[in-house]
Chain length 234, copies 2
């Protein structure tokens, strides 16, 4: 009998696990001995926050991040093939969405190992809920390109996808460029278009604000270096 | 001082709220007196499941569903403008994603009322996590069109978006057509393309299965009338 691969979301801010995670996750994580984690230090800290009595030194950790060679991922599944459950932990939020945990899940699916995603905080989903935008059709496109020509092309594509497909556009930016991005969107896209900025989701300073770009243009805001996610719609 | 608009996700299957919802949601919901709900019966049942001691008859419910005229939505925000918190409940899963709750959120955003989305189960996000597909770029496109020409065009568009944008495609079908859809995808799309079917997410019979279409073609499956979500990638 194979073990299962559990995808455990982690907290995204300093808050307690019970604020953003179901009790079931905590009950399950107590019994897992094998972990594949994006970042060792945050993983250990998270486990201690879930339950102080967890004996961290008795657990097995493998690190899977953007530097991990693809050929090493296969071996990380071995505990499951030998009948042990594996827990996957991302650095923040939901594993296997926009992090290398997805590679392990892909291997598990190929080898017929059951994958069990658990409920937890996702800035993509929470910001979409809070934006008031179309949730019947939306796209998350990750980081904006830095190269000027590619960036201009992406803006055009987003405008087209909003107009033609009625599709909410969700994307992120390197946090120290957040303020510049808002100004850029204001100058390059139609003033009637709606921008939602969701900042510090699940954190103490959470704010989710939707306004037309022409109103953003004259508004006060400061998202500098704060974790933020951006949504466009009209 | 305005009240807040809390977006409370609900359970998607028969399970207990603590399996899929953080304790914080239950703590918050106890203090809300004004609800905007998609379906009255499931909302009452959900509230009782959260806490048997909640006095349902002391609460105020407004129904917001696909039959609600747009001009009625504005008035539903009134309790918040008068300083009371409002709780929004979808029939299943996360409110304001693919349900009319988004209209109330849009009104709240226009009127400057704080919107607080809470963590809960989303079949879109959980299936994406479990699929092993690209989570750095994905699109949810809702229901497939029924009209044959539009449907063929949608298949072409998804194939193009996977190839050109490396974008995971997520969509749903009317449940009694689920089996026919899998056969249709097998016959109309390249055999190497990967299909993930996530069925009964968070339920007793949860299954999340990723395979190339050529393997689905010769596999046994039965998703007839079961809540399922479909993902394509290559």
């Amino acid at each position: 009998m194979h073990g299962k691969v559990y995808l455990f979301p982690t907290t995204m801010s300093a808050g307690a696990p019970a604020e953003v995670l179901p009790q079931r996750n905590i009950d399950l994580i107590r019994n897992v001995r094998y972990f594949v984690v994006e970042e060792l230090r945050t993983a250990r800290r998270f486990l201690k926050a879930c339950d102080r009595s967890i004996d961290i030194d008795a657990l097995n950790f493998e690190v899977l991040n953007e530097h991990t060679p693809q050929q090493d991922v296969e071996a990380m599944l071995r505990p499951a093939l030998e009948g042990n459950d594996i827990g996957v932990l991302s650095e923040a939020g939901c594993p296997a969405v926009a992090d290398p945990g997805a590679d392990l899940v892909a291997v598990a699916q190929r080898r017929g190992v059951e994958v069990v995603p658990l409920v937890g905080p996702s800035s993509i989903l929470l910001s979409l809920m809070g934006s008031g935008f179309n949730g019947q059709s939306f796209a998350f496109t990750g980081y904006l390109p830095i190269d000027a020509a590619k960036r201009a092309e992406r803006f055009k594509q987003m405008e087209r996808d909003i107009r033609v497909r009625r599709q909410t556009q969700i994307f992120i930016e390197t946090p120290y460029r957040n303020n510049r991005l808002v100004a850029e969107l204001c100058s390059k896209l139609p003033g009637e278009m709606l921008l939602c900025v969701a900042c510090d989701i699940t954190g103490q300073d959470q704010s989710i604000r939707t306004m037309p770009l022409k109103k953003w243009k004259t508004s006060q805001y400061n998202y500098d270096k704060k974790p933020s996610i951006f949504l466009l719609y009209s």
